[in-house]
């Protein structure tokens, strides 16, 4: 197994971990964190693909690498926006939650 595949598997596993966190964690902040984890896993998949396609004297295919750079910036912007939302919500209610109706409260999100 070469390094590219290894990091590719690592990326796949991170995707799984991130998905799990995003789905099961009731706290919005932790969801955002899990989203970043998920994102970095996806970026590693890009990295694997770039490394695998190394040619022409380059250590990797520059096209997917450039895409990752773009995607990282987009993910950061998304994180900033989500955090700003969480904080505003916390300011308004004293706690942050993404559930909007009472029927949701029972699943724990309303009390987080």
């Amino acid at each position: 197994m070469n390094a590219a595949t290894l990091f590719g598997l690592c990326g796949a596993a991170l995707v799984g971990i991130g998905l799990y966190g995003l789905i099961t964690n009731p706290e919005p902040l932790r969801k955002i964190l899990a989203f970043n984890l998920l994102g970095s896993g996806v970026f590693l998949l890009f990295g694997m693909i770039a490394r695998r396609a190394a040619a022409a004297g380059l250590g990797g295919d520059p096209v997917p690498q450039a895409m990752v750079i773009t995607a990282i910036v987009v993910a950061f912007a998304a994180t900033a926006m989500a955090i700003a939302l969480v904080q505003r919500l916390a300011d308004e209610t004293g706690r942050a939650s993404i559930s909007s109706d009472s029927s949701d409260a029972v699943d724990g999100e309303g009390k987080s």
Binding site: L19, L22, I23, T24, P26, I98, S99, S103, D104, D107
Partner: protein
């Protein structure tokens, strides 16, 4: 004879133009007074159009085609007459009532739809105008905005839309069968007997048009809708609008091809409705409801005639059914209008008014020399001599009975003011409808070349027409004299079942709502996302 094009176009565009003019508030305000003028071009078209050359609107790829064939012309002519007189009746009727503007808009929409359906020669146009008719009619039914009216409107539009969706599927199926790219109804009907989906299409057509025609058990909307609608609206709906379904059956069903099974079913359903309407109608008190049940019965009878035609593969049954319908248009219209006239008449002038009502009412049962008797003669051929004829005679007896019941109910609605008389603006439209209902069938009957039909003045025919009427009259006397209490059946009879279904629906709705609320939880949605990912992946791999 005049050019066909401008006449046909005018028949449609004139009411449509009036409808569009309602967008201008000034026009809307005055529109209720001019409703009677809207159908005049259509009437003129019937009188002056000589040929069946079609009017084609739109580019060649997709267009609407209109034509005035004989069944369409017959129905359109009498329907236009009724729309004219009822329109004239509506204008004083609306004086000082709320929602006059909306009434005018819905009236014009229904009128345009009605004319369009009678003229449409292709499926898209037919469907379009049928939908317009349904919407306009629904607006007329809810005019009074009582709780009953809203319920009646809901029932009407619900069944109407269901019927139209069934028809839509049938049309789509038919479109697939038409060779080439046309959507003409005539081509569709010609292609139907050989279609691979023949039975499905015919069932859909019968179900769809049956709902619109109030065939039992889809008749439930009729009593409620006609009882709730304003009198002039009830007149045009029961008289003219409902005939769209008869025309539809005649246009779409392959009457020239013998289809014994379907025909038998249709005839049986129709005859059953013809008797059912009478029986339930007898238990009703309100004149409008009695008339509605009479409509159920009469429409059933017309459907039965079409069914008998299908059994024999006899295309002439279509014209017979149309003739019968044409008579019913005017008679039913006149009877509905009479409700308003009698209600405005004092006891002192009651009898002069009641006499014409009674004549045309009993005429529906086949009183000799009336249009009803002529209609019975015309449909006698297609009905044959078997059981159907017996049932038809029974239905004639029943109709007479029912009509006498109606007249009796009408008397109780007379104005409390002894000296009251109906305003001329109500009286004359009613009287002209009544007169037309007596004259027009004769005119139509005499237009048929001599020898095709028996002489209506022949003594044996006179007797044949008279004896069910006499029987009915005797029965009426017996019932009124001896039967103290008739069972009370709610208006719309089996709709009660539907009502109770509607009552348990919320419980189901609540369950679904709760399940949906569950699915909207974050982690449930997340798990659904993952599960769907895997399911879709598996489904994609399975190839």
């Amino acid at each position: 004879m005049m050019e066909t094009y401008p006449l046909l176009a005018g028949a449609l565009l004139f009411p449509l133009g009036m409808l569009l003019a309602c967008l201008w508030p000034g026009a809307l305000l005055r529109m209720p007074s001019y409703l009677a003028f809207a159908p005049i071009p259509a009437f003129a078209a019937v009188l002056f159009v000589a040929d069946v050359s079609p009017l084609v609107v739109g580019p060649p790829r997709l267009h609407l085609t209109f034509t005035l064939d004989l069944p369409g012309a017959l129905l359109l002519g009498v329907a236009a007459l009724l729309w004219i007189t009822a329109g004239a009746y509506a204008s004083p009727y609306l004086q000082g009532r709320p929602n006059r503007g909306r009434f005018a808009v819905c009236w014009l929409a229904a009128l345009t739809g009605c004319i369009g359906v009678f003229l449409a020669a292709d499926m898209v146009g037919f469907y379009l105008f049928l939908a317009m008719l349904t919407l306009g009619a629904c607006g007329l039914i809810i005019q009074h905005e009582t709780a009953d009216a809203w319920r009646a409107g809901a029932l009407y539009i619900g069944l109407g839309l269901l019927a139209e969706t069934l028809l839509l599927i049938a049309f789509v199926l038919l479109a697939a069968d038409i060779p080439g790219n046309g959507l003409l109804i005539a081509d569709a009907a010609a292609a139907l007997p050989t279609s691979p989906h023949r039975d499905l299409i015919i069932s859909l057509l019968i179900a769809g048009f049956g709902m619109k025609a109030g065939l039992v058990p889809f008749h439930v909307w009729m009593p409620r809708a006609y009882a709730a609608a304003p009198t002039p609206a009830a007149a045009v709906l029961s008289g003219a609008a409902v005939k769209a379904s008869i025309l539809g059956m005649i246009r779409f069903l392959p009457l020239d091809t013998a289809l014994p099974h379907t025909g038998t079913l249709l005839a049986a359903a129709g005859l059953f409705a013809a008797l059912y309407g009478v029986v339930i109608g007898m238990t009703q008190r309100r004149p409008k409801v009695v008339l509605a049940y009479s409509s159920v019965s009469q429409m059933g009878f017309i459907v039965a005639v079409i069914g008998m035609g299908m059994i024999a593969g006899d295309g002439r049954a279509a014209l017979a059914a149309i003739f019968y319908s044409a008579n019913h248009v005017l008679v039913k219209g006149a009877l509905f209008l009479s409700i308003g006239v009698i209600a405005a008449t004092g006891r002192r002038y009651l009898w002069p008014m009641l006499l014409p009502v009674a004549i045309i009412a009993v005429g529906l049962g086949g009183l000799p020399l009336t249009g009803g008797a002529l209609a019975k003669i015309v449909v006698d051929g297609p009905l044959g001599d078997g059981a159907a004829n017996t049932v038809a005679t029974l239905s004639a007896v029943g109709t007479t009975l029912l009509m006498l019941q109606f007249v009796r109910g009408l008397i109780t609605t007379v104005s409390t003011d002894q000296e009251a008389t109906a305003a001329p603006s109500l009286f004359w439209p009613w009287l002209s409808t009544a007169a037309a209902s007596l004259v027009v069938p004769w005119a139509l009957f005499l237009a048929v070349p001599e020898g095709m039909l028996p002489n209506p003045l022949a003594p044996e025919l006179l007797w044949k027409a008279l004896f069910p009427v006499l029987l009915g009259a005797i029965l009426a006397a017996v019932v009124w004299r001896w039967v103290r209490r008739l069972p009370h059946i709610p208006e719309g009879d089996i709709v009660v079942v539907l009502d109770s279904c509607v009552k348990i629906a919320p419980a189901w709705g609540k369950t679904i709502e709760q399940a949906e609320g569950m699915l909207r939880r974050w982690h449930v949605a997340g798990i659904s996302l993952l599960a769907l990912t895997l399911a879709l992946g598996a489904a994609l791999l399975a190839q």
